[in-house]
Subunit: 261 residues, 2 copies
């Protein structure tokens, strides 16, 4: 996704190949500031203080926390302590536990001297796979959006496809593209006329502060609305499709997500 | 309704019998400050800047604006100019037009020399009638609340009656008691165990700033919630009854009110 006309991921390795750069999301939308994470403590703080948030991004950031811990000291004790500290930073994020478990399994396969290299390799893999997953969500979702837009045209409605979203399940919650917003970016980049209704998302305003900001940086037309306006817009046919994140999805299709979803 | 343990109306004649005291609602909930209105310009400003808001209170305040204009100069021209200025202060409040029309009719019946006395008498009548209406709403509504609480007890639910409200249709919107909140105060004063879910009411926060404040001053148990949490509470049986204001109610029972209602 573009920020100031330049493509960015939300987390990347610094020039030294060791420390990690993130965007301080607590300062958005007023300031685009990056932060360098130099130690596992920096990573725990970044997760705990919500400089990074969104389950996929938290998972990738935690994986880099393991890298930074091992780069300082690649002992078993340090590995175990680092994983414990990272896990406690945000106990509810399922990707955090998952990413740490994956790091542990990968590291168990190599001798202590190769741990640091394997840690960075695995963290990079987790990040790249997240990007690939989001890209795939974007491709599948954009196809659905395309069909909906065609139906609208057939009905002679000269309006963009109106998409409602809640909270932030966008680029900022992942490494790139986003989950719920990936289809929006994919469809927009392919030239489909879209417009996003962005729920403000009380009480923490992730919609107004994050979703509106990232859509605006990429140039996607959008309007911030009070959460309580969604029903009115639907009643008047101004919402063609809703797309949100899901904290948990059960095998039967039930979904848990942010209040208001 | 009590503020700091003392019963208040939201508008009252000052000791001089001429000027009018109001509560500056733009400073709530952080400060309870009263303002003296000394001229029709003060009244126009109070309505326009939302120091007073809520249709019933706006109507009574406007009626006092006519009194203040005539107390300075009881000519036909001043009367006509005052009504025009007051009407333009908040064109959408139906009680404003209604109260001014009622003042005009009452004043047409008396000779110019008796206008000032008649104006104050009519303004006082409008205020007292509003109080009587709200009191009647309270009586009827509290009876309904009582039956709902009995049903709950029969079901062996040891919880107060949970009432959800949106925006502010309370004491602060009227001269006393409120419209939607009158039954809450009446039931509470009669000893019924009640608890109010107060919608924050974005984007202007009348629930969080006004409704929560007046309920708190009177001692009524309440909780401010994000607007988007109402559906969740209903889904889990935590809402027994909803009561809100109505900007307009049609003959067929359809209602228009604040977004989110």
């Amino acid at each position: 996704v573009n920020v100031g006309g330049r493509a960015y991921r939300t987390i990347w390795l610094a020039g030294d190949g060791r420390t990690v750069e993130i965007i301080d999301q607590t300062r958005l939308p007023h300031e685009f500031a990056t932060v360098t994470l130099r130690s596992v403590d920096d990573v725990v703080h970044a997760i705990r203080s919500m400089q990074v948030r969104g389950a996929p991004l938290i998972g990738v950031t935690a994986a880099h926390g393991v890298c930074l811990a091992l780069a300082a000291n690649d002992s078993d004790e340090v590995l175990s302590e680092a994983c414990g500290a990272l896990l406690g930073a945000r106990p509810t994020a399922v990707n955090l536990r998952w990413a740490l478990e994956r790091m542990r399994v990968a590291l168990a396969e190599v001798s202590p001297g190769d741990r640091v290299a394997m840690a960075y390799e695995t963290a990079a893999k987790i990040a790249d796979e997240d990007v690939a997953s989001c890209k795939a969500i974007g491709k599948h979702g954009a196809e659905l959006f395309g069909s909906l837009a065609e139906d609208k045209e057939t009905g002679n409605v000269a309006e963009p496809l109106n998409i409602l979203t809640h909270c932030n399940a966008g680029w900022l919650a992942t490494v790139d593209y986003g989950t719920a917003l990936a289809p929006v970016y994919t469809a927009f980049d392919a030239g489909l006329a879209v417009h996003v209704w962005v729920d403000e998302t009380r009480p923490c305003n992730q919609g107004a502060s994050l979703t509106a900001w990232e859509l605006g940086q990429h140039g996607v037309p959008h309007t911030v609305i009070a959460d309580n306006a969604g029903g009115h817009l639907m009643q008047h046919g101004r919402v063609d499709v809703c797309v949100t994140g899901s904290d948990r999805t059960t095998g039967t299709g039930d979904v848990c997500n942010k209040i208001g979803t």
